[in-house]
Every structure is written in structure tokens, then in C-alpha cells.
């Protein structure tokens, strides 16, 4: 176990080092950022001053070590546009994204598990097929299309929900629903398959034969086994969900880090963009390590063997 943990953490650190290096050199590939940030006709003196202010006149190695040093000290430079520390901007935005994630996760688990169980129990009936059809549509619909349709229906036609912003919990409902769609579909599929596997086992038949009521059998024996696929799905979906979060936040103007990263990419605000990529990659990598550990904890059958 310790060996596995050490390997996993080492792998995660290596990934993050790679990301940091790649991000730094990638953003420097595009030439001098000042060329397009300053309005044409800016006099040379201002230009030089700006270049010095952002440290762009130093050799690239010096810039890299400053960059890494700054990263370790939590100092990631100033946003080209807002002229204030990048870390401050992210500190303001992060709670919104975390909130959005929490809601999306909650929705997909709270709805996905019961729906998956129902789909397994009512297999072959109209209800079962309807749930699986729904899951399939959730699977095939791109997030922004779903978002557009929901805005159209719930905001513009029915006037139930606000279409953008992040002021109240209601503002998070639609983005969270859109963000959860794919994970919900996955959880339904996985829970259903796991349940079908479990329901065919001998010990379920035994439990039923000794007179245990069906809901108890499902709740006690089958459901416990369905917890594993749910954790698997969450673990595997985290990276994808972060990716989709970027799109969802941009559509709903949720003032989170995804929204920030998109606009940094459009406006080529490199300090914001590079820290965003590093931050998100770190969050994803750390989460997946944690989920691997959780996985080993809830499923005693998992033998952690280092290959």
C-alpha cells in the first residue's frame, strides 16, 4: 500500500512538473506579448518600461526560474489586463467553481444512483428503456447545446431561472444541471450494469429465498456493490468535467475559473492563462490520487499491486 501510494504521488508530481514546464515554454513560444497588448503607435519608451515591468527582458532561463520560484511562493505575476496579482483573481473566482462542482456532483450522484437502480430493476419495461434513453441523450448532447436549450426554455420562455451570473444559489442550478448531464448519464449506465451483475449472483437469490424483502436485498446487498462504479465514474470523469466546466461557465457567465481561463485565452492574458492551467491541472491530479485511495478503501477486493 505504501509503495503504491509513493508511486502514485511520485507520478502526480512528475505530471505537475511537466505541466509547469510545458506551460511556461509554450506561452513563450508566441513571441513578445507586448507587441499585441499595447496599442499601435505606443512610443518605444513605454514599450521598454512595460517589458521591464513584466520581466520580459530577461533571458528565458532567468524567466523560467523566476516563474518556478514565484509559483512556489504563490506569486504568479500580474494580469496583463487587470494589473493585479493573478493569484488574487483566482482566489476570488475559485469558490464559484467549487460550488458549481459540488452541486453538479451532488445532482449526478443523487439522481444517477436511484435512476440506475430503477433501470436495472425495471429492465425491459418502458420505464427502464426510458431511463436508458435519457442517459443516452445526456451522453450525446454537447454541453453548450444543452445550455442553450435550457436557457431558452427555463429563462426566456418560462422565466423560472436566471440565465447568467453567479449571485445566488439559483444562478448555479442551470450550470450545475448542464455540467452534471454527462456524469449523470455515466453513473446511470454504470450503476445499472453493476446492479444487473449483482442481481444475478447466488447470494441475492439466497437472500430472497430466505424471505428477505426485495427492497432490503437491494438496499443491503446490491447497493453496496453499486457504490464502486459510482466512485470509478467520478474518478474518471473529474478531468473531463473540468474541461466541460470551462464551456459551461463561459455560457452562463458564472464568475469562476473556467470562465476566467476562456477569456484569458481569447485575450491572450498569459499570466492568467498559465496559472489557470497549472491550478486546474493540480486540482485534477490531486483529486484523482485521492479517488484512487478512496477506491482501494471501499473495495476490499482491490489488491494494490504495483506493476
Amino acid at each position: 500500500m505504501l509503495d503504491f501510494l509513493a508511486r502514485r504521488i511520485f507520478g502526480a508530481l512528475a505530471t505537475l512538473c511537466f505541466v509547469v514546464t510545458a506551460v511556461f515554454f509554450a506561452t513563450r513560444l508566441s513571441g513578445n506579448a507586448m507587441d499585441y497588448l499595447l496599442p499601435p503607435g505606443t512610443d518605444a519608451q513605454t514599450k521598454v518600461a512595460m517589458v521591464q515591468q513584466f520581466g520580459l527582458d530577461q533571458p528565458i532561463w532567468v524567466q523560467f526560474f523566476r516563474f518556478v520560484g514565484g509559483l512556489l511562493h504563490g506569486d504568479m505575476g500580474l494580469s496583463f489586463y487587470e494589473r493585479r496579482p493573478v493569484t488574487d483573481i483566482y482566489a476570488e473566482r475559485l469558490p464559484n467553481t467549487l460550488q458549481l462542482f459540488a452541486y453538479a456532483l451532488l445532482i449526478s450522484v443523487a439522481a444517477g444512483v436511484p435512476l440506475g437502480i430503477t433501470a436495472a430493476l425495471k429492465r425491459g419495461t418502458a420505464m427502464g428503456s426510458a431511463i436508458m434513453g435519457l442517459a443516452f441523450i445526456g451522453y450525446a448532447t454537447p454541453n453548450f447545446v444543452l445550455a442553450i436549450i435550457m436557457i431558452l426554455v427555463f429563462s426566456l420562455k418560462l422565466h423560472w431561472l436566471p440565465s447568467s451570473g453567479s449571485m445566488t444559489a439559483l444562478h448555479f442550478l442551470m450550470p450545475a444541471l448542464v455540467l452534471s448531464a454527462l456524469m449523470l448519464a455515466e453513473i446511470i449506465r454504470f450503476t445499472r450494469n453493476a446492479m444487473l451483475d449483482v442481481l444475478g449472483q447466488d447470494y441475492i437469490r439466497t437472500a430472497r429465498a430466505k424471505g428477505m424483502p426485495k427492497f432490503l436485498v437491494v438496499g443491503k446487498h446490491a447497493l453496496r456493490n453499486a457504490a464502486i462504479p459510482v466512485v470509478t465514474v467520478i474518478g474518471l470523469q473529474v478531468a473531463g468535467m473540468v474541461g466541460r466546466c470551462v464551456v459551461v461557465e463561459a455560457v452562463f457567465a458564472t464568475k469562476g475559473i473556467g470562465d476566467l481561463v476562456v477569456f484569458a485565452a481569447i485575450g491572450r492574458d498569459y499570466p492568467v492563462l498559465q496559472f489557470g492551467v497549472i491550478l486546474i491541472a493540480t486540482l485534477v491530479v490531486v483529486t484523482s490520487v485521492l479517488i484512487d485511495l478512496l477506491y482501494a478503501l471501499i473495495d476490499p477486493r482491490v489488491k494494490v499491486t504495483a506493476s
Binding site: 451522453y139 450525446a140 470509478t232 474518471l236 478531468a239 470551462v246 476562456v262 492563462l273 482491490v302 489488491k303
Partner: protein, 313 residues
């Protein structure tokens, strides 16, 4: 964004250790089948999907000939007209017009073509990169192989949308850049499948025998390894294809993909978003087309997976 790809990874990891063991594609070897045989075994619903997809492809190929107007021609007197069947509709613009009076039917046809083309070229790039990396990682043990697999792991760990955003921010939104960005997504799935197959096959007695008989690496590769991975590759290709369509549309939707005035389905939705309150069809028409196409591709992928009996485990 590569959700389908991650679902494939998901199914490969569902029962075993948590992301520790590499999935190996276990493929039951089947006698070669022609397309005709596949068709004859298909259910009528599947045939319907296949026909519909063929129709979509046909529209994409001959679209410019069918399109009644130049997709970028503006008719300012016929702005914001709804599709036929609504008030103020014009029969000459069956799907309506956008804020500049451009014909939405023509734009959808051109957009469909560009979207599919980008996804197609991108998917071949990722196929090629993935297969080559998988072969290298499988054959060249030691540092090189380990390095390739490390890159695969990194690619899996970092959300692809971030890589795409970074690339587009640096290299701009020219079409070749976009195609390469899309080609860079999803290759790791092929690499893992091919590598696993190389490792499995090279331990088989018949491969040892043919090695002893003097077969070269290339011969073993083309006669023993690659034939065994065709089925999973076809299935992965189909399933990632729909996620590539979505990736392109999402980027274009955000304004980081194909730039206006060129129409792709994603950018049409993105532009139509601003008119959602008053003239929703500008966004809804291309949105429905994206949904329809990606649904079809997914359904076909599911069917292929079952028919070719590929277990991505």
C-alpha cells in the same frame, strides 16, 4: 472534452485496480467480415442509423451544390427570418436567416461540411499518432517506451480543454492549428490499446515461432499485431469521432475555433446565442444538427462495439 474516450477508459477500469493496471484490449479473433455481412446482421434500427449517417455524409459532401445561397452572402432586407412554418417566414429561406440575413440552410450545410472535415482529419491524425506511439511504447522497452507511456499518463491526467485553450491562445485560430489541436486529443486511447496488444502478442508462442523462423519486427507487426487491433481501433475511432465533433463545436462556440464569417456548426450556435431571446432558431437549428450527428455517431459506435465483439477491458 474527450468524454467518450474517458468512458472507454472507464469501462476498462471498472472492476480491476484503480487506474494501476493498463487495460489490454482482449479481442476475440473473428473471421474477416465484409460490409455486406455487417449490414445483413444489423437490425432495422441500426440500418436506419446507418442510412441517416450516410445521408448526413452525402449532405456534407454535396452540400455546397445543394445550398441555395452563398453562406456568407448578406441580404439585409431579409434579416432574422424564422424557419418555414412560423410568422414572417420566407419560402426562399426554409430554415430562416440570421442577424445579417444570411441563409441558415446554406450556412448549416457548409458548417456541417467543415465540422465533419475537421473532425475527420483530426481523428486520422490522432489515430496515426496513437498507433505509432503504441508500437514504440510496446516494442522499445526501457527509457523510450517509459517516456511515451509517461506522456500518455500526463495527457490522461490533464483536461484536454486546457491543452486546447493554451494551444489556440499561442498559435492562433488558423484552420491547420485547429485540426492539429483536435488531432492531439484522444491519441492516448489508441496508444494504450496498441501497446497492450504488442505486449500480449509478442509473448505468444506463434510469434516466438515466427521470430525463430526469422520474421522481422515489421512482419510480426503487420501480420500478428495490427490485425488484432483493427476491431478495437475501429470502435475507438467511431466513439472518439463524436467527441471530436463536440470538441470542435465547443471551441468554435467559445470563439476559439473557426473564425467568422466562416460557418461551422459550433460557431453558428455561438453567434446565435446573442439572439436567443428574440430569434432562437439561429442557435437552435445548428444545435439540433450537432446533437443529431453526434447521437448517430454514438449509436453506430455502440452497435459496432457489440457486433465486432470488442471488449475494451
Amino acid at each position: 472534452m474527450s468524454d467518450i474516450a474517458s468512458s472507454l477508459k472507464a469501462s476498462s477500469l471498472s472492476t480491476n485496480a484503480p487506474g494501476l493496471s493498463l487495460p489490454s484490449a482482449s479481442v476475440r479473433r473473428q473471421p474477416p467480415k465484409g460490409l455486406a455481412k455487417l449490414w445483413s446482421k444489423a437490425r432495422w434500427t441500426t440500418r436506419l442509423y446507418l442510412l441517416a449517417f450516410a445521408l448526413v455524409l452525402l449532405f456534407a459532401i454535396v452540400g455546397p451544390m445543394l445550398a441555395p445561397y452563398d453562406p456568407n452572402a448578406q441580404t439585409l432586407l431579409a434579416r432574422l427570418r424564422p424557419p418555414v412554418g412560423f410568422d414572417r417566414a420566407m419560402a426562399i429561406h426554409p430554415l430562416g436567416t440570421d442577424q445579417l440575413g444570411r441563409d441558415l440552410l446554406s450556412r448549416t450545410l457548409y458548417g456541417l461540411r467543415l465540422t465533419l472535415l475537421i473532425a475527420l482529419i483530426g481523428s486520422f491524425i490522432s489515430l496515426l499518432v496513437g498507433v505509432v506511439c503504441g508500437i514504440v511504447a510496446g516494442y522499445v522497452r526501457g527509457r523510450t517506451g517509459a517516456l511515451v507511456m509517461a506522456i500518455v499518463d500526463i495527457q490522461m491526467a490533464v483536461p484536454f480543454t486546457l491543452i486546447a485553450l493554451l494551444t489556440v491562445a499561442i498559435f492562433g485560430t488558423a484552420l491547420p492549428v485547429l485540426v492539429c489541436v483536435i488531432g492531439l486529443s484522444g491519441w492516448e486511447v489508441y496508444a494504450r490499446i496498441v501497446r497492450a496488444q504488442v505486449l500480449t502478442v509478442s509473448r505468444q508462442p506463434f510469434v516466438e515461432a515466427s521470430k525463430a523462423a526469422g520474421a522481422t519486427h515489421l512482419r510480426i507487426l503487420f501480420h500478428h499485431v495490427l490485425p488484432n487491433v483493427t476491431s478495437p481501433i475501429i470502435v475507438v475511432w467511431t466513439m472518439t469521432f463524436s467527441s471530436l465533433i463536440l470538441l470542435e463545436s465547443s471551441l468554435s462556440f467559445l470563439g476559439l475555433g473557426v473564425q467568422p464569417p466562416t460557418a461551422t456548426l459550433g460557431s453558428m450556435v455561438g453567434l446565435g446565442r446573442d439572439y436567443l431571446a428574440s430569434t432562437p432558431w439561429i442557435a437552435v437549428v445548428p444545435a439540433l444538427v450537432i446533437m443529431f450527428v453526434s447521437l448517430l455517431v454514438l449509436l453506430i459506435g455502440d452497435w459496432l462495439r457489440d457486433t465486432l465483439d470488442v471488449k475494451l477491458k
